[in-house]
């Protein structure tokens, strides 16, 4: 092989690299500026969206098939900022990048990346040719690969430790519910076991190819089996797992046991794309419900003919008194949702037609948790709140389906509860009050009371 093909390849590599750099540099700069501007404009947008009154708008939010796919404009929980952008674009926002120039830049970047791969491929050829010119292989992969394995292993194990430390600032703090302590204990125990196994095996895995790297002069050690070893490394994991199983099942049985007597019930109702809570009121019992009663005015399908429902309070927030057992009774309107409260170590699916429940005892109030998060360095800890998130794909706005939760002292909770009006009462008031914060607006139709329906509960 002569020098000519080698030089021509080097030239190609240089040209492509320069073209790539020439295209990439201004692209990045331009892009960074554009992104900063875009981010700022959107920050303004989201600020505006948050201020809009959260009027509860009843009604179906399911999308008809073939409909022009837009967001439901009404989103009872939290205001989907992206949706507002899409449906109601602020004329000011059109100033931001979006035109053909912006697209062209991104596509050029894409081509640059592909060219870069081409550069790597050409470099590979260059190295091969260099080897041929000089008479021996340019890179002795037999020598270098094992070394890279060793370096990779050391870097990998180090990165694991570093990341566990670095990301720990965002880990969940101690459990805010009593049963969570047992879960966290099991978790820590499992982690110790796993880390030991992880480090030993990953070390061995990448060290052996280095230590026993290929030597054509030598033979490997013919060692086909050792039943004693097999038994040892069957029994030891089995024992460790038995410990994890028994510990885990004890905790599981405690959590999934029926709620202790005296536990307060709160119904939590999931729908696309929000949550509502129904408190049982003074009689401490929830009124019956029936899915056939679900309509615009009666989103939860409460059976208002049942006397027990007359003092029920439907709310848009969940308030809980600290250190009091509460049992969440879940119902869904349309599809499977999941009630996920990571701080309380609580999750259970909310399935239409299959009532579920999860009981717990909150032990840390919102203000106490804010202090804990402040100490951990979480930004905006002073305005942080507990939330329940939907955790089972339920449609387009699944990512923005949440309900605020507040854990407070018994006194604050009583104060809040007494300030709420029973939904039945507000429904039947002579004139509908203006903008009620948490109750259904329209007065109930008198014909509804006449319906006799087989009751489900």
């Amino acid at each position: 092989m002569t020098l000519k093909p080698l030089l021509s390849r080097l030239l190609v590599v240089l040209m492509i690299s320069m073209a790539g750099i020439a295209l990439a540099a201004p692209t990045q700069k331009h892009d960074a500026k554009a992104d900063a501007k875009a981010a700022k404009t959107e920050a303004n947008e989201s600020g505006k969206a948050m201020e809009m009154p959260k009027a509860e708008v009843p009604g179906e939010v399911l999308l008809a098939p073939g409909a022009d796919v837009k967001f439901p404009d009404e989103s009872p929980s939290g205001g989907s900022d992206v949706a507002t952008e899409a449906v109601d674009p602020n004329p000011n926002s059109k100033k931001e990048e979006g035109g053909p120039m912006h697209s062209a830049i991104k596509w050029i970047l894409f081509i640059v990346l592909i060219l870069f791969v081409g550069v790597l491929l050409q470099l590979n050829n260059v190295i091969g040719l260099l080897g041929e010119v000089s008479g021996k292989a340019a890179v002795n992969w037999g020598k270098w690969n094992p070394r890279i394995m060793l370096i990779f292993m050391l870097g990998f194990l180090f990165a694991t430790i570093w990341e566990m430390d670095h990301d720990s600032q965002w880990f969940l703090p101690e459990s805010a519910a009593e049963h969570g302590k047992d879960i966290d204990y099991m978790f820590d125990m499992t982690t110790w076991f796993i880390l030991i196994v992880f480090f030993i095996t990953q070390f061995a895995l990448f060290y052996f190819p280095y230590k026993y790297r290929h030597n054509p002069e030598k033979r490997a050690y013919f060692y086909a089996h050792n039943d004693k070893l097999e038994i040892i490394w069957t029994v030891i994991p089995a024992i460790a797992l038995a410990v994890m199983i028994t510990g885990g099942l004890k905790v599981w049985n405690a959590i999934t046991a029926p709620p202790p007597p005296g536990t307060q019930n709160i119904e939590v109702y999931a729908f696309q794309f929000g949550w509502k809570a129904r408190y049982p009121g003074v009689d401490k019992e929830l009124g019956k419900h029936n899915f056939r009663l679900i309509n615009g005015e009666n989103d939860l399908g409460v059976d208002w003919t049942d006397g027990k429902s007359h003092d029920d309070i439907i709310t848009q927030e969940i308030h809980l008194p600290v250190n009091v057992l509460v049992n969440f009774k879940y119902r869904a309107k349309d599809v499977i949702h999941s009630a996920y409260m990571p701080y309380f170590r609580s999750q259970i699916n909310v399935v239409p037609g299959v009532p579920t429940n999860f009981w717990l005892k909150p032990t840390i109030t919102t203000s106490e948790m804010r202090e804990i998060l402040q100490k951990k360095g979480r930004k905006n800890a002073a305005v942080w709140d507990y939330y329940m998130f939907c955790n089972k794909i339920c449609g387009s706005a699944h990512y923005n389906m949440k309900i605020k939760m507040v854990v407070e002292t018994q006194a604050e909770y009583d104060k809040w509860l007494n300030a709420q009006k029973a939904t039945y009462v507000s429904m039947n008031e002579p004139e509908a009050p203006a903008a009620p914060a948490e109750t259904t607006p329209a007065p109930a139709d008198s014909t509804k009371k006449d319906k006799k329906i087989a009751l489900l509960n």
Partner: protein, 638 residues
């Protein structure tokens, strides 16, 4: 051991040599298992690229949720709205199709289909599969199923979007989201075709392994690849029909007004009659009854390929051949009784949950045994790091990482806070999306000379490996921490919820790593296709491997061997046998002296041909002997 069918089939093979082969019969509607294997490979790679491109797009969305994505308009059209935001329902559609393509089309058909077809007849010593015609059908059903799935991406209402797990009622009610309309119906049609393909293929593999092994090839002389393909096919045959049933019932619920999975759904939401009396949880049981064996259908072939590659490239027998078979059997059996661990938080009976916890954590034991056996195989080996070997070692690394996090998820109490979070996403991507894919790539690098009679470029292979392993760990390792903090999966964006906004920077890192990993695969694609066209020609047995496929001639012939099929005299792991001339002895090389009859005991210990191994005890230690001595019985002598 049906040696008779061997001779009958041999005669049958003679007839085939007189067939005229046209382009169509050789390359399109081929009934030759080697060609069908390549067809599966091509389609699998194509679907893999599509699945990867989808993931790039939604990684861009997750990494830069505020960014203007109008540059994607030429590709995605109306799915990017006027302000440059990706449509959330199309995002979910992409996530769904990505999952479906990767799990079924790439890792089941592309992995099992390719290597089972290529290797089962060759490593068992058979002329072809038991039914070449059904084999051909199995590929074309797979092809049709891929076409239908691709068509669903182009619908105006979008592809199926309720996640690859398609839980009803979201998937059963067309009004619930746009992706539950025609896209969902096409998904079901595609999967029904796919299941047909899987069942046909599976039947072929099982019958061939059981009935068509060559003379001397007892079950305990089979390479571990064949054991894993065989058990995979059994898993598939027993579990895919359940998914078929589940999908059919879902079709009925969608189109015929039935109520298998629906209850308490008012008429307005169904667009028809109200639904009462069914249970969405029924679907989950039916789905996961396949779903869990499915992930082992994905994993077992990858492990089988790895066993072969690690043994060949360490020049050592795979440590504990019998224990490896036992663990494969254990994993296969246990995989049928653990499906409920995907459903711990559905509200099912807690006692049932406990049963699933027990079975799930037990399945960790055979998996651990396999890892330790791989490490013991490497120990004191003479390790040759070919690209295939690098990927095999990478697989073991990801299998360790992913398997260990499974211990959290299998424990129901811990699963409460981790279910459907990024912890789960990290876990299954590491075991399936990297470990199994690495197995597939290792298999491609290792058996490329067999498939295409040429060698791939090793240097590009190393580059591909190092970039991919770094990118893969860079993408999926940080996701564990997101999951631990409670970040849910299948979320279109995190920046709306203050709680999850803190993960923005990490999401950028993950997206960048994902994009780098994606581009690194271009190196592989270039290497693969340029080597097919103009790679350097291979030699007969480039890796010095003992198994039968390397004794077949380099040029593919219908019927695999020109004369008689080789007879097998020993197990497949006679590497570095003390006293032997070369550092490997192929399976078809006879012992000095008499032909030794296939017998589990002796073939495993491979006496003759070099003195076996270094055991000097008069009574050889073995598990049966251990228990015999324990109970005061006389142990067997060697």
């Amino acid at each position: 051991m049906s040696h008779d069918t061997h001779t009958a089939h041999d005669a049958h093979a003679e007839e085939h040599h007189h067939h005229e082969e046209t382009f169509i019969s050789k390359y399109v509607f081929s009934m030759d298992h080697k060609m069908i294997g390549k067809q599966f490979l091509f389609t699998g790679i194509l679907m893999g690229v599509i699945g990867m491109v989808l993931s790039m797009i939604f990684r861009v969305q997750l990494g830069w949720p505020e960014a203007n994505m109008s540059f994607l308009k030429p590709v995605l059209g109306g799915w990017i709205n006027d302000t440059g935001k990706l449509d959330p329902s199309f995002y979910m559609g992409m996530v769904t199709i990505h999952g479906t393509i990767m799990v079924f089309f790439v890792l089941t058909a592309g992995l099992s289909g390719t290597f089972s077809n290529l290797l089962i007849p060759l490593q068992c010593g058979a002329r072809d599969m038991a039914s070449p015609f059904v084999n051909m059908l199995s590929y074309w059903f797979f092809f049709m199923s891929s076409v239908v799935m691709m068509i669903s991406l182009f619908l105006s209402t979008g592809p199926a979007a309720p996640g690859w797990t398609i839980y009803p009622p979201l998937s059963a009610l067309p009004k619930a989201m746009p992706g539950s309309g025609l896209g969902m119906t096409l998904w079901l049609v595609s999967m029904i075709l796919f299941i047909g393909s899987a069942l046909m293929g599976g039947m072929n593999y099982i019958v061939t392994v059981l009935n068509m092994r060559t003379k001397g090839m007892s079950m305990t002389r089979l390479p571990l690849t064949i054991w894993s393909f065989f058990l995979t096919a059994v898993l598939g045959l027993l579990s895919f029909p359940v998914l078929l049933g589940g999908c059919l019932l879902l079709l009925f619920d969608r189109s015929f007004g039935t109520m298998f999975y629906l209850s308490d759904i008012p008429a307005e939401l169904t667009g028809g009659i109200e639904r009462l009396g069914g249970s969405p949880i029924l679907f989950q049981h039916l789905f996961w009854f396949l779903g869990h064996p499915e992930v082992y259908i994905i994993l077992l072939p990858a492990l089988g390929l790895t066993s072969e590659i690690i043994a060949t490239n360490s020049r050592k027998p795979i440590f504990g051949y019998r224990a490896m078979i036992m663990s494969l059997l254990g994993i296969a059996f246990l995989s049928f009784i653990v499906w409920g661990h995907h459903m711990f938080v559905t509200g099912m009976n807690p006692f049932l949950g406990s049963v699933f916890v027990l079975a799930t954590l037990i399945i960790a034991v055979p998996s651990a045994i396999k890892v330790f056996n791989y490490l013991a195989t490497l120990w004191r080996g003479n390790i040759r790091l070919t690209p295939a070997m690098c990927f095999a070692i990478g697989l073991v690394s990801f299998f360790i990482s992913g398997g260990l996090t499974g211990l959290y998820l299998g424990n129901a109490a811990l699963d409460i806070n981790l279910h459907d979070t990024y912890f789960v996403v990290a876990h299954f991507h590491i075991v399936m999306g990297t470990a199994a894919i690495f197995g597939m790539l290792a298999g491609i690098y290792h058996w490329f000379p067999k498939m295409y009679r040429k060698r791939m470029n090793d240097k590009l292979g190393y580059l591909h490996f190092w970039l991919t392993i770094l990118a893969a760990y860079g993408v999926f390792f940080p996701m564990h921490f997101m999951g631990l903090a409670g970040v849910p999966r299948r979320y279109y964006a995190f920046n709306l919820l203050e709680e999850f906004d803190v993960w923005t920077d990490l999401n950028v890192f993950i997206s960048v790593a994902a994009i780098i990993g994606g581009f690194a695969q271009l190196i592989f694609l270039y290497n693969f296709f340029s080597s097919v066209l103009k790679g350097r020609p291979t030699e007969q047995n480039p890796w010095g491997s003992t198994t039968l496929e390397w004794t077949a001639p380099i040029k593919h012939i219908h019927g695999n061997w020109e004369g008689d099929i080789p007879t097998v005299y020993r197990w497949p792991y006679d590497y570095s046998v003390p006293g032997a001339e070369h550092d490997f002895i192929p399976q078809n090389v006879p012992h000095e002296g008499d032909l030794i009859e296939p017998n589990d005991h002796q073939s495993y210990r491979s006496p003759g041909g070099g003195g076996g191994h270094t055991d000097t005890h008069e009574v050889h230690f073995s598990v049966p002997n251990f228990f015999k001595k324990l109970f005061g019985l006389k142990p067997a002598t060697a």
